[in-house]
Structures are given as C-alpha cells and as structure tokens.
C-alpha cells in the first residue's frame, strides 16, 4: 500500500507476555456447531489457560468478517483465528492482520493464498468421503438410484463435501445418480420442495439419498415419510445435530458425520495460546496451499462417522445433550441405544 512499510512487524513479537486471542466464527446458519459447540469449548480452554479472548460470529457475511477483524485488531488482539467464509476474503483479512503484526490461524477451513501461521481443521473432503462410505454401507452394494442434495451453491465447503462423496460412490457401478441439486443457502424449507420434485421426477424410484448435512437430511426424510418410504431409503447427514441423531436412532437416517468441536476447539486453543506466548505449536503435518504455493503447518483432526451403533459416542463427547435427544418418543430409542 501507499506509503506503508511492507516488512511489517511480524516475527518480532518474540517472547513477549501473553496477548489477546481473537476468534471469528463464520455463521449461524450452515451448522449448529459454531455457537453451540465451538464457542463454549474455546471459552473454556481460554479461561483455563487464563488468556484474554474475544470470540465473534460473522453471520455468513464476508464483509462483516472483515469488519470484525478490523475491530479486533483495533482492540489489540495478537493472535487472530478465523473460519473463512471463502479463501479470498480470508486471505485479505490475514494480509491486513499480518501487516499489523497479528499472528493468524486458519480454523476449520484453509485459506488458499492466505498467510496463516497454522491450520487447524477436520478435512472437508474427508467428511464427504465418510458420507459416501456411510451411504455405501447402508446400501450394502445393492443396485441403487441415488439423489444428491448438496449444500449451498455459494459455499465452497459444500462443493468439497460433494466431491468427497462422489469420489467414493462414483466408483461403485451399482449406484446410479438420478438427480443432483444444490440447495441455495442451505435452506431447509427449499430443500423439501427440491427433493420432492426430484423424487417425483424419478417416480419415487430412489434407493439412497446423499444429503450434505443433517438439516437437509431432515428435509428429505419429511418427503420420504409423506410417501411411506422413511426408514426404507438411507439418507446421509453431517454435524451430528440433535435432529440428525434422533433420525439415526429412529432409523430414518443412515449416518451422520461427527466433527468433535471440542477436540477441534481444544487444538485451536492450544495453538493460539502457544502463539500468544510466542511459542511454537505442535503440528501433525502440513497442508498444501496450491494457490499460495506453500505448505501450511497443520493440526489435522479426523472426523467420525456416526451410525445407530455409536450415537452414544457423540453424547459422551459432549457434542449433543442426551436431554435434548431423548425427548418424547425418542426416550425409548435412547434407552435402547444406551444413552442417558
């Protein structure tokens, strides 16, 4: 920039005392996890470590994220972790932060072409693969027509999930794609109509449904129920939400993918606290950023496939509360699954 010093001050925050950590979460719509799991887990970890912190949510708006970043930097954070809404806006935030000597961490999503010091995440393509494998398992290799209901067309993660699932399912010759639609804004209401029409188009001749997350899965199940097919057609999901877990227990959803926010948040907290103290964080690999042409030191976590058998694991990990899941008619199903 004009009249600015490009060599910044990065690197010489050295062994200074602890600073303040800022975290910007992406939205409230695509998933329940950010506010209900990540925020409390991060808060707990930061409190335990006794560092100052500031956690905000960009409500799915990249401009807003930039605004928040500006104000956090103004507020004196020394480490900034973001879940980017897309790589380019993320890179711009990291660039700005870097110029002001603020360390950055990519949380959950890698910022291609960015300048983050670390990357902490579950692998999104891996999530898609798990979904594909889960559906494959529920279909047990029988001939099947499959409908794909992807996430928002403007969301890059949705693209990655779908790619992951296709990479597994497309290899099985018994499976045939009979419809694929992206659901604008992950809108659960629109998803119902979209699925009902795909279902009508193929005369209900559908044996499996790939739904990108539990919310969309719920929408699909609503139509299957209307046609008396709920429980007979396997549906995938993601996020292990209360809705998804209930559907899994009821047998109307075949699987979900659990990304332990606690685990991920813990990893982020560790890395951020280390950075704030001017230390290095423990990494378990690197991730290639093809756009930026560099290897980003990474802390990578493995997502977990959830089926009827291991719903309990989610509850035990604190990803969902038994009291939320086991309401009304689900009380008995919970008991059967050993959840209390």
């Amino acid at each position: 920039g004009c009249g600015s010093d490009s060599d910044g001050g990065s690197g010489d925050s050295g062994k200074k005392a602890e600073g303040k950590i800022g975290v910007i979460l992406p939205d409230t719509k695509s998933s329940v996890r950010w506010e209900s799991a990540d925020r409390p887990a991060l808060e707990a970890a930061f409190k335990a470590a006794g560092v100052d912190y500031d956690i905000q949510n960009a409500e799915g708006d990249a401009d807003k994220m930039a605004t928040i970043a500006d104000s956090m930097i103004a507020d004196g954070v020394t480490v900034l972790a973001i879940v980017n809404l897309d790589s380019d806006s993320g890179a711009s935030i990291e660039e700005k932060a870097g110029k002001q000597g603020v360390k950055t961490i990519d949380y959950d999503r890698l910022t291609l072409g960015g300048s983050a010091d670390y990357y902490v995440s579950f692998d999104n393509t891996k999530v898609g693969e798990l979904q594909g494998q889960g559906l494959d398992k529920c279909l047990a290799g029988k001939d099947a027509n499959i409908i794909y209901l992807n996430g928002s067309p403007t969301d890059n993660n949705a693209t990655l999930f779908s790619q992951g699932a296709h990479s597994v399912l497309d290899k099985v010759s018994a499976y045939k794609k009979v419809g694929e639609q992206a659901v604008p804004d992950w809108d659960n209401e629109k998803a119902v109509t979209i699925f009902e029409q795909l279902y009508t188009k193929v005369d209900g001749d559908v044996q499996g449904v790939y739904a990108a997350n539990d919310g969309l899965a719920g929408s699909v199940i609503s139509i299957l129920q209307k046609n008396g097919q709920d429980g007979k057609v396997p549906v995938t999901g993601q996020d292990a939400t209360v809705e998804g877990l209930q559907n899994i227990l009821a047998g109307t959803q075949c699987m979900s993918v659990y990304k332990s926010a606690k685990e991920e948040a813990g990893a982020l907290a560790d890395a951020a606290i280390a950075l704030a103290k001017g230390e290095k964080a423990d990494t378990n690999g690197t991730t290639e950023d093809k756009t930026g042409n560099r290897q980003v030191p990474s802390i990578l976590l493995t997502p977990k496939s959830i089926t009827k058998d291991n719903v309990k694991d989610v509850v035990d990990d604190g990803g969902a509360k038994a009291s939320d899941i086991c309401t009304g008619s689900f009380e008995k199903l919970c008991a059967d699954a050993g959840i209390s």
């Binding site: 506010e35 659960n188 209401e189 009508t200 209900g204 046609n227 097919q229 309401t327």
Partner: protein, 424 residues
C-alpha cells in the same frame, strides 16, 4: 351565475342511462364483458393467463408435470406462500409493507412446535399460541407504524432482523425443532378421505350456488345493478366443474408404491380455501374491509370520513402476522421441523412478488386475497416445474427470474390497455 333569465331546468329524477339498463341476456352480457376487457378492467384474467402459460411450458418440458402426484405436490408446496401472500394483501392495500412477515411466521411456528415438544400441549392450543404470538408481533409493528409514524419498511426491516435473533435464541443457532404432532404434520402430508373429498366438493358447489342465486334474486327484486341469470348460472356451473374435477383427480390413488396408497385431497387445500373465502368475505362484504380499501385509496379522505385510520393500520399488521403464523405452521408441517432460518431469506420477497403478480398494487388501494393465491400458485409452480427439470443451480436461478418476468409480463401487457383507456 344563474340570473333569473335562465329557464328553470326540469329535474331529471332518474337519469342513469346505463345503470337502469341491465344486460338482458347472455349475448349482451358477453358483449359487456368484452367491453370491460377492452376498457382495461381485466380482473384476475392476466394472472390466470400467466399461470396457464407456465403450465403449458412446464408440461412440454417435463412429462411428470401434469400427473396427479405432481399436482398434489404443487398444492402442498403452494400452501405456505399463498397464505403468507394473502396475509400481506391488507398491508399492501394500505401501501405499507411487512418485511418481517416471513420471519414472524417462522417464530410463530417455532413457538407452536416448542409448545408441543417442550410443554406437551395439545396441537390446537399450540397453534393458538403460535397465531396469538404472531398477532402480538403484528400489533407491536402496527403501533410503531401508525402511532410513531415510522415508515413500515424500516420498522419491519428492524423486526425482520430482531425476530431472527429471537428465533436463534429460542431454538439455538443452526438448530431445529421437530414438528412432533400428527395433526400439524398432517396438514401437508395427509389427505382427506375420498368420501370426505366428495362431500366437500358437493357442499362447496351447492353453497356457492345458493349464495349467488340469493344475491341475484335480491338484486332483481330491488331493481339494482345485476348480471343476467344466465351468467350467474354459468359461473355456478364453472365453480362446480372445477371443484368436481379437482376432487376427481386427487381422489385417485397417485402413489407409485403399490403398498402405500396416496389418495384424496391434501388437507392444506381446504385450509387455504377456507382462509380465502373468509378473507374475501371480510374485504368485500364487511365495513372493516371497506375501510381498509378506503384508507389505502386515499388516507386523508378516509380520515375525513371519520374512519379511525390508525386503528385500521394497526389491524392490517395484526392480520398479516397472524396469517404469517399460519403460513409458518404450514411450512413447518411440510418440512417436519422449524429451523433457525425458517421464514428468512427470500421468503418474504417471494410472497410480496406473489401478491403483486396477482395484481395487488404496492401503492395501496388495489388488490384482493384471490390475487395472492393465484400469484402464490404462480411462484410455487416455478419452483415445482424447475424441480422436475434437475438443472444446475445457476440455471435454476436464471430460469426462475426469467419465468417470473414472463408471468408478470403476460399480466402487464394484457393490462396495458387499461392505461390506453385512460384509467389508472
């Protein structure tokens, strides 16, 4: 002016040239109708025409479009938007707008769903609670608009945001609440029994016939303006034919699964029909409805006529959000749940678009509940037809926009003569 030199003109006691003259028979009535059309008074004809064009286009594009199963789908898919648009009509009649109606509906649906899930309330009580909550929101909005004089666009934009916050708080970010009641779920996924469907069709036809014949008799006996009997009879026959055809089509088993028959009229259809008849009655035949039109047509004239303008303004927002609550509950019935984003996004824009396509003016004074229903069906048809075509998402966006323009264009072009004829 008149000096005594002017001759005293005689009184013209009843000189309403055409008024006194009723179209005598069918031929003349047809002629009068053609004159009206030529004069630009199109009624809902253009919107129906636009809908017909859509139906033709989609029937050509997909052989699944005109099957009974899909028509039943269309009815359930149109339910929520038709009700929401109907609720918006009185607000639009006043030249106001309610951007928050969609979200208010989502919130009401959330309240209903939570009342059932968390408090084990009976569905009727839960629905009443949801609708009441909607009414209260409308009341508060109305107070801001009417009493403080803040433009409705800003007030309802604020509520649009604020209520989203309330939903988020209530059902957790990204969360959802299951619709755990069979009756509510049944609105969109269950159907009336075949017998009940037939009874409904017959009752409707006879009821309509009775009401219009009675009206005609009174008009004739009191020498008021009226249509010829033949026209009244043709209308009755038309309504009966539609009721019976729809019932016949929907009463056939449309399931593709031999083990799971699906037949009968989806409950949502009579629900929407009852609301339509109710509001049509209110806006056409009651003092309240008349006053809404008056306030929308010329607020100052209405005030001078002694109408309590503020009360009318508050009331339309109450109607709007109450109907939005019903709409939200129908939407939740269809999706089987209420999520944090229910009623958000473009829901409201679509609903306003529906009312406008149907012929409601955003400047107030012009529109009726049936406009909203026709427009709602147009919007739902676009999504329904596109859904069958399974195109890439960008194509869906582009085609939705294009078709919307087409439907509205048919309407606009056919209405143009009106301005050529010097009215409006």
């Amino acid at each position: 002016m008149t000096q005594t030199s002017a001759p005293e003109p005689e009184l013209a006691d009843s000189d309403f040239a055409i008024d006194a003259h009723q179209a005598a028979g069918l031929g003349e009535a047809v002629q009068a109708y053609r004159n009206r059309i030529r004069g630009g008074d199109m009624g809902s004809l253009p919107a129906v025409l636009g809908l017909a064009v859509l139906f033709v286009v989609f029937s050509i594009a997909s052989d699944r479009f005109l099957i009974a199963l899909n028509l039943a789908n269309l009815i359930t898919q149109a339910g929520a938007i038709c009700v929401l648009a109907m609720g918006l009509v009185p607000v639009l009649l006043l030249g106001d707008i309610d951007l928050s109606a969609g979200v208010a509906g989502g919130l009401s649906a959330a309240i209903t769903a939570l009342a059932i899930v968390d408090h084990d309330l009976n569905w009727a009580v839960a629905v009443a609670a949801g609708v009441l909550a909607g009414a209260v929101m409308g009341f508060v909005i109305g107070l801001f608009v009417a009493k403080l004089g803040i433009p409705s666009f800003v007030v309802t934009l604020a509520f649009f945001l604020g209520l989203q916050g309330v939903i988020l708080k209530m059902i957790g970010e990204g969360g959802s609440v299951r619709v755990a009641d069979d009756v509510i779920r049944g609105i969109t996924i269950d159907n009336m029994s075949v017998a009940a469907g037939w009874i409904l069709a017959v009752v409707l036809s006879i009821g309509y016939a009775a009401v219009s014949l009675r009206r005609h008799r009174i008009q004739v006996s009191r020498g008021l303006q009226h249509a010829p009997l033949s026209v009244v009879l043709i209308k009755i026959a038309g309504i009966a034919a539609i009721a019976i055809t729809v019932t016949a089509v929907l009463n056939v088993n449309r399931s593709r699964n031999p083990n799971f028959p699906i037949e009968g009229i989806p409950y949502v259809l009579p629900l929407v029909a009852v609301l339509l008849v109710f509001w049509t009655f209110v806006f056409n035949r009651t003092r309240y409805g008349r006053h809404v039109y008056a306030v929308g047509g010329n607020r100052e004239a209405a005030r001078r006529a002694g109408i309590n303008v503020d009360r009318i303004r508050v009331s339309v927002f109450v109607i709007c959000t109450s109907m939005a609550a019903v709409s939200g509950i129908i939407a939740s019935s269809y999706a089987g749940k209420v999520s944090a984003s229910s009623g958000g996004g473009n829901t409201l824009l679509y609903a306003v678009g529906a009312a406008v396509i149907g012929g409601t003016s955003l400047f107030g004074g012009k529109g009726k509940p049936s406009d909203a229903v026709i427009g709602g069906v147009v919007i739902a048809t676009i999504a329904n037809g596109l859904g069958l075509l399974n195109q890439a998402s960008w194509i869906n966006f582009v085609v939705t926009g294009g078709v919307l323009l087409l439907a509205a264009g048919v309407d606009a072009v056919s209405r143009r003569r009106r301005s050529a004829a010097g009215v409006g």
